[in-house]
């Protein structure tokens, strides 16, 4: 079987465009650089103090669970007990913004470390069924649910956005091309639109 990937070096990001049968629009994948990203890890025994500080200083209810919490332009994604990814909607000095949490948590700037993939469209779960081993049915993975898992042998953290059916995946930057190739290989059958944003 031939595909658009056959002619591309495995190290090269697939170009923007339409993959699959003309006229089919099953999935849209937007590749983006998170404007600002940091990890937050509660210091030993400081979980309660950290969530209190996040509420008071940032207005953010940090759920200690694989879930999304969002307030005031900040999104927290639970990645493990007492650990989160924090994303900001606009470029900023995130560790400075989070400085009030520093007595209770280790804060590490990670903005360049991850690449984001925002997936939407009527066949998004059909594409993801080819690589995700987590059940994404809305009855068990509702809006705001998050997971860290291996997808096509690539470790990712992902969540379902509140609202319409939309998933966001974060993959390590050096795995971004491999993850994009997984999306093209698995999504072209449904018609995949690949676009770079920001």
């Amino acid at each position: 079987m031939t595909s658009a990937l056959d002619a591309l070096p495995v190290t090269q990001m697939p170009p923007d465009g339409h993959y699959g049968p003309a006229g089919k629009h099953g999935v849209t994948a937007r590749i983006f650089d998170p404007p600002a990203l940091a990890t937050l890890a509660a210091r030993h025994g400081a979980g309660a103090a950290l969530s209190a500080a996040a509420r008071v200083e940032l207005g953010l209810d940090l759920a200690d669970a694989p879930r999304l919490s969002r307030a005031n332009g900040l999104t927290a994604i639970g990645t493990g007990p007492g650990r989160w990814f924090l994303l900001a909607e606009a470029p900023e000095d995130l560790p400075a913004h989070l400085a009030a949490l520093a007595p209770h948590a280790a804060i590490t700037e990670q903005t360049d470390a991850m690449v984001g993939f925002e997936l939407s469209g009527p066949h998004v779960r059909d594409l993801l069924a080819k690589g995700v081993t987590v059940d994404l049915d809305p009855s068990v993975f509702p809006p705001g649910a998050a997971a860290t898992s291996n997808v096509a042998h690539i470790n990712t953290s992902f969540w379902r956005e509140p609202g319409d059916e939309r998933f966001v995946f974060l993959a390590g930057r050096s795995y971004a091309v491999a993850f994009a190739r997984f999306l093209v290989a698995s999504g072209a059958a449904f018609g995949l639109e690949l676009v770079h944003r920001g």
Binding site: A42, H44, G45, G47, D64, A65, P66, T79, G80, P81, G82, R83, T133, V134, A147, T148, S149, N150, N155
Partner: protein, 87 residues
Amino acid sequence: MRIPCPYCGARDASEFAYLGDATLTRPDPAAPDAADAFHDYVYLRDNPAGAHSEWWYHSGGCRRWLKVTRDTTSHAIAGAELAGGAK
């Protein structure tokens, strides 16, 4: 085989790394019989047919160690908890 991670939920065993017996206690290296005790600790293992308490590391998920109770004859898992307890 799926392992019910207390944080992540049920996940495929391929996301985990296996360490082994979770019932062993590291011997005191200062004890007079330390050499013999460490030989037993490192090399001698029970091989139970049935319930077994063992360490699994969730490398593909929450990056926490779990203590899992698994039936070695059926792979049925009776329970899993975070090593060191919840934070």
